[in-house]
Amino acid sequence: MVISNRKTLEAKNIHVSFGGIHALSEVDLALATGDILGLIGPNGAGKTTMVNVLTGFQRPKPGAVILDGRDVSKLSAPKMARAGIGRSFQAARLFRNLSVLENLTVAGLGIGLSKAKATEQGREILRWMSLVDQADQKASSLSYSSERRVSIARAVALRPSFLLLDEPASGMNEAECESLMEIITGLPKRVECGVLLIEHNMQVIMGVCDRVHVLDGGKSLAEGRPEEIRSNAVVLRAYLGEDASRKNTRI
């Protein structure tokens, strides 16, 4: 895949504590345009905290977030979004009383487009994600899986260099997962971005990721290709306990 302008997003030595609890310790993460990096780990491993750090909702102390060579650790969340880091939310978090199209228009406005351009861009993205029929519907009237797709679409409307997807497949059935995976694999090329995918659903992780980074208890456990991670003893132990790794189970 030829990417015209290859950018990098690095998180270096990230530490985050909440009153004595170390949500993240010494975590290093990196991805580049065109990559799809999976971020997995048991519940409470710090995955969402990591996303919050990367999107300006949480400041690492100490630690740094470097976007294309520029230290963006201290930027506020809106500024991070404008700098090119978009995210979708686990709980979708749509603007419920706005229409689906308006949800995307807002993101376009966020990066400084005119309302007309932002609306046009929004419509285009909705077409690509097969959501255009619901463009004028109120966001609160959407089905669960459509909500998730709109959440991703809205982040795409930011024309991000990096897209962080927080458990987009949760609650989806097999067919919905399939179409989600199609969308995710299409993202790097279509949006010219790198993707960080947080997921519990291993089918999706194995299906779309180039590499996978594992967190546990706030620390990096391993990083490697999906097949390597799947049979990594340390990872298995973290997820399933001592017995599972000895029995050589696959995730």
Binding site: F18, G19, T48, N52, F57, Q58
Partner: protein, 304 residues
Amino acid sequence: MLYFLQVSIDALALGSLYALVALAIGLVFGVMRLINFAQADYITIGAYSLVAPSTAAVPALMFGALHWVPMVAAVLLAVTVLALLTERLAFRPLRNTDTTTLLISSFAVSYFLQSLVLMLHGGRPKTVSIGEGLTSAVELFGLRIPGIQLLTMVVAMALLVVLVVFLKKTSLGVQLRAASENFEMARLLGVPANLVISIAFGISGILGGTISILFVVQTGSLDVRMGLMPAVYAFFATVIGGIGSLPGAVLGGYIVGILSVLLQAYLPVEVRPFRDAVVFAIVIIILLVRPQGLFVTGGAKERV
């Protein structure tokens, strides 16, 4: 020097009073995310319960005619029942709505109660003399302190201590405090929601009733709007102290109370009528410097 000591006593008395109201506001806010405008009317109605409903400027006494022990009990009971009623009828149905809706609803409840008082008692201020003996001054370390001032300070501080002990040492109090600082978590841990909310409102009723009696003894007058200023001061106290923090509310109460008295005592005479405006302006400045308030609790911020 003497003047300063006198002022300090006033400041402590008023600070304690505002701290109590702020605590009431803070408790209810903690368990329901509701800034209770009706607290002002708990105070007002507590005061008006001392007299019989009429439009007379010098009304006949109702609870006020009793000996002070049953009088205090009656007022406290009346206000507590009122607080619990407002919770049950107006706020419980709205329990899970957003803070904006809750804020507006408490505005409505307050307005309703105010008009009720207006309807029963008329709009003119009234004179009431309760606890006459207390207004005379007491000699203490060379200072002449009005007895009521001393009483206010003693009662307010005593109540604060009782409340703190209740919140820290008793099982119910600890549950209330936990619920007040993080309602969802407390509920998941098994704290009974209805009970805890009722207790919070009950306490705010008791505090409201206490303050109303102290005010009436001190000022000798009744006015439909009398609870407004203490409540408004308490809102600002809560916000300065840090929304969602109980110690913050108490600290905020002392800050605004002491500020108010200091300004009254030391501002040039021509500026004194504007004292409230100055206090509120300072409140805004404090908020500018520290928007989240003095104590930041985890419960105040939204989880991302």
